[in-house]
């Protein structure tokens, strides 16, 4: 393919680079090589194009309603059967509770409303009611001024496209007793709602990563803003999203 000595070594790593699975040293090695080798750069570019095409194709399917009903009925029956909660007792409780939240949440014990719950519910509403964004734009120069006209604070909007998170738009939501900004990003087939409002006392208390209604939820504060990210992305990817946002400068 090429006379460069280390292409054979780099080629198998390109998939790891694409999938974000390389450690820092190998990532650097790959990126340096790609910068100087057009053959490997082309090969990598093709992988990126293919990935984008597969993800844009939206290959996820929606479970038929019939199946949803069948599964719900089964869970309800199980829930009503005596002893369903017994396996929760003892050492496996935290894992089992996390799983319950992930898979069967509607069938399990009611939980007091918390902010993480509100965030997840708002995420679900935004996806269901076809009300994801009020301002549709991939351009932060459009989204940011739009918020300025609709809120009494200026939420940070980030350009994260190069890290794989494209801006989809924004909307104003109501949560925690106030108007908040919801900035929407997409990552492949996944939607991320990033809720932002000015920090108040209490927000500084760190909240560990949560699972609410099966969605991963993360909270942090930055630049005086309380930030909640929620998505159906897996926990590791959402952690990466948080890292990327924290490391980025708002536009």
């Amino acid at each position: 393919m090429t006379d460069k000595p280390d292409c054979a070594e780099i080629e198998p790593l390109l998939h790891g680079l694409l999938d974000g699975e390389l450690d820092a040293a190998n990532t650097l090695k790959c990126e340096e090589h790609i910068a100087s080798c057009s053959a490997c750069a082309t090969a990598y570019q093709q992988l990126v194009v293919q990935r984008n095409m597969i993800r844009a194709a939206n290959l996820r399917e929606v479970a038929p309603e019939r199946l949803q009903r069948r599964v719900r009925t089964m869970i309800d029956r199980k829930k009503n059967a005596a002893g369903f909660l017994r396996p929760f007792r003892g050492a496996t409780w935290p894992a089992a509770a996390a799983l319950a939240a992930g898979l069967f949440v509607f069938a399990i014990i009611p939980r007091g409303p918390d902010l993480g719950e509100q965030v997840a519910e708002s995420h679900v509403r935004s996806m269901m009611a076809n009300h994801l964004v009020d301002v549709v734009s991939t351009d932060h120069h459009t989204v940011k001024p739009w918020f300025a006209g609709h809120l009494d604070f200026a939420p940070p909007v980030y350009d994260l496209a190069s890290q794989g998170f494209t801006l989809a738009g924004g909307r104003v939501d109501y949560m925690n007793g106030r108007q908040v900004a919801a900035v929407v990003y997409r990552h492949g087939a996944h939607v991320i709602n990033l809720f932002i409002w000015p920090e108040s006392n209490g927000d500084a208390v760190p909240v560990p990563p949560l699972v609410r209604d099966g969605y991963n939820v993360r909270h942090w504060t930055k630049l005086g803003m309380s930030c909640w990210a929620v998505s159906d992305m897996n926990a590791a990817e959402l952690a990466r999203f948080e890292q990327v946002v924290r490391a980025s400068n708002p536009i």
């Binding site: 290959l59 038929p64 199946l67 069967f104 590791a236």
Partner: protein
């Protein structure tokens, strides 16, 4: 709200090659999951559920050694597209779907788990019960095979 039901169903549809038995596989998987809390050790709930879906699929294949005739998968329209863009997207999606379904089973599943379900190598390795090295080599082979069939199908050289 059953958050991972669509993921479970999508995966089952690929495993069953678009067969109707996907619904039964998912139903079995939830039944098993309900009975198997004690085996759950934390981590991504979706990955755990997909492992069970795959196991149920293997069981059902052994039981009936059935690979049902493939029917076309339901299309998911996107209201945000213009009609032309939506059509182009649907065609691309349709082609992609067909080509993925034509891949050998062990390659199709890693592509679906990685690109559709966005799982890490480690999670995929746990689901298909193979070393991470196997996941990596299968992904590479799957992508190469997809690129090749895409070129043959569309005559485009860009992939």
């Amino acid at each position: 709200m059953l958050p991972h039901l669509d993921a479970a169903y999508s995966f089952a549809r690929y495993l069953t090659r678009g067969g109707d038995s996907a619904e039964d596989v998912v139903h079995d998987a939830y039944a098993r999951a309900l009975n198997a809390f004690s085996t759950y050790r934390g981590g991504d709930a979706k990955a755990w559920l997909l492992t069970i879906v795959r196991n149920c699929f293997i069981t059902s294949v052994r039981r009936r050694s059935e690979v049902s005739a493939s029917d076309e998968m339901a299309d998911i329209p996107d209201d945000a597209d213009s009609p032309e863009a939506a059509l182009a997207r649907r065609q691309t999606a349709e082609t992609m779907r067909r080509l993925i379904k034509k891949l050998p089973e062990n390659l199709a599943e890693v592509i679906v788990l990685r690109e559709v379900e966005d799982l890490s190598y480690k999670e995929i390795a746990a689901i298909i019960d193979a070393p991470i090295g196997t996941v990596m080599s299968r992904l590479a082979r799957a992508r190469e095979a997809l690129a090749k069939s895409w070129r043959e199908e569309t005559g485009e050289v860009s992939l």
